[in-house]
Amino acid sequence: MAYAAIADRDNAHALHDPQSFITKYIWSQDHKVIAIQYTITAIAIGLVALTLSVLMRLQLGFPQSFHLIAPQNYYQYITLHGMIMVIYLLTALFLGGFGNYLIPLMCGARDMVFPYLNMISYWVYLLAVLVLVAGFFVPGGATGAGWTLYPPQAILSGSPGAKWGIVCMLASLAIFIVAFTMGGLNYVTTVLQARCRGMTMMRMPLSVWGIFMATVLGLLAFPALFVSAIMMTLDCLLGTSFFMPAVSSMGQPLGYNGGSPLLFQHLFWFFGHPEVYIVALPAFGIVSDLLSTHARRHIFGYRMMVWAILAIGCLSFVVWAHHMYVSGMNPYFGFFFATTTLIIAVPTALKVYNWVLTLWRGDIHLTVPMLFAIAFIFTFINGGLTGLFLGNVPVDVPLSATYFVVAHFHLVMGVSPILVVFGALYNWYPKMTGRMLNDTLGRIHFWVTFIGTYMIYLPMYYLGILGVPRRYYALDSAIQFIPPSVHTMNEWISVSAMFVAAVQLVFLFNLVWSFFKGKPAGGNPWRSTTLEWQTPDTPPRHGNWGERLPVVYRWAYDYSVPGAREDFIPQNVPPDKLTPVGHAH
């Protein structure tokens, strides 16, 4: 058994079905249950981050009205909002949630190759979330250093939570990285070793490719955050001077000497930029599958898409310093990073063209997942094109630390991936629960979210070009050059943000209501070709495939094949079982 490949374990009983409620739903080693645990936890902590953004918008839109929001609170909200959204929501949801659910099902495996490690990964992730939340309740409150946690200010007494909040933050990040590494080893090894018969790498759905490559990026990039978290914790607790230069606080010299704050920035962004693609690549992959399925057309340029994912993954490690143009770097250094940054636009643009060409002359079904997928293309182009501005040093310098940057990164790596998350949840919820999500509520959720995010972020570009700085608690009186229109605009943005935040409650209600009252979905409601829709049971049982593992005969995109009776041919249909047109069953 020890040497038998996972793919050869045809007998489902060898994986002994869990019996009690606890082993089935709490201490579960089943990848599907772990995926749902990850998803629920990520959405729960994401709601905290959403609430924080509402509080920030209340302050920015109506600066005099909310006395509960003190400046230090505002900085805590900013910091935690950013960190939670990027790491604890998006990374965890895409890799821990969708990665766990889709990799074994799409590859035709019974489970991850190390189910026990997978289970531990979730519980350690939960611990990381709890430590993060604990930061709110320690003396001094959570850290307010901004999500980049730049020293020296992150651990100096001027910043909120400089004593214990920052330690909670760093500890939580380190724990998260341990959890991610355990999960990541599983995802990579499962993709490499546990694919079913016939599933070559070049037949894998692009969702799996995106998640796989994002995991590889995460495994190589998260150590940089780990290194900086450890060294900063030591600076904070033991008084070492890795990052801390000689500084005085309130006229008194602190014990630090000679540390390099720039070193932290390099380490942070050596992680931070790949992190953008850790979030984006799974979104790229999943949206490719959504577009193909709901346009009833094969993905355009499959091989190109795979190589684009690989190229983006490699390039993402050599662009990190474009986040540091204003740190006083050598101009040649800046030139190098501007060049690599613009080069990365090439594979990214290829992907956009291919998505659009997939839709071209497709039989487009405007289902809710499809609406989100198309909205993703729009939003990604909007956010991506402004990235070209910010990638160039001379344009970036005046725009740096303005609302232009805020709008850019929210559209490109906040809203775009979250639109895919929504699309994917609408798409795979029927497989997870056996019931459809309510269509009307879904459409309300979609249109308010989609239009609403534009009402929020397009004005921010304008604010940025006016020079409105980000991360300011209030803009009144102190800054002379800001015209009154900015304040009106801020009110508008805040009101829009309330609407968008409120409509997410409709989505949550839909998730819960449909679980009990939703329309039964059947095994394959979207008439998809990929393996997860061909399971004998819906939701799939432990071991996924019943007695026999599936065998794959074709790629994942046989939609509207000329001459075929149905407009889709599942991956596991052998060539001799194809029913030609007009052939009676």
């Binding site: 190390f114 990579v188 490499l192 014990g255 390099h266």
Partner: protein, 235 residues
Amino acid sequence: MNIWVAFGVLTVGVIIWFMLIRKLNTKSWERHGSSVHVRSARGDLGEVHVPPARIALWVFLAVITSLFGLFISAYFIRMGHGHGADHGMITDWHSVSKPPILWFNTAMLVLSSVAMQLARNALKSNKRARVNGYLIAGGVFAILFIAGQLIGWRQLHASGYGMTQGPAGAFFYVLTGVHGLHLLGGLIVWLKTVIRMRKREVELIDVRLSIELCTLYWHYLLLVWLVMFTLLLFT
């Protein structure tokens, strides 16, 4: 300097990753292709797959290559670019006196690695007692290494270099600490293997993979230590 170290890390990562990508065209469900030949006392087991644990360990080695590479990169940057050093100011980097026990520790770690390799070799001739002996020796040498490192810490501390007395000392504690923790993690797997081998019903073939992977991990950590030790000695 710093940028080149970063690229060095990157290159190593990419190389390891390419070793993985070579597997992209393999068919994981097929019995030939990427397979190893296993023989045991009970006869030829035939060709089998590369076990998932082996792949996972290689991926993990890529992860910790990135980790140690970045630590070493940070070491160089902090050494060369202490605040103000770019502008002709004197850096605050002062080399610390290395405790002589580090040489003894290095010898222990080499012996540990050799013993693990001998255990692995003994697997092939199927000599259970020898495998057991070398395996335990390998672990004991590793424990001696860690104990020696702790003594080294005490000696360094006693000679006046605490965490806060300059970056060289602080890096010494951090680098050796992280390396030691990784070795401790390996020792947990080693301990589980040793306990399993004490059971009668556990055949040699059942622990073969654990021993092979421990050996690989031990060699890797020896390599990391040699790189780090050289670095610490000369700076």
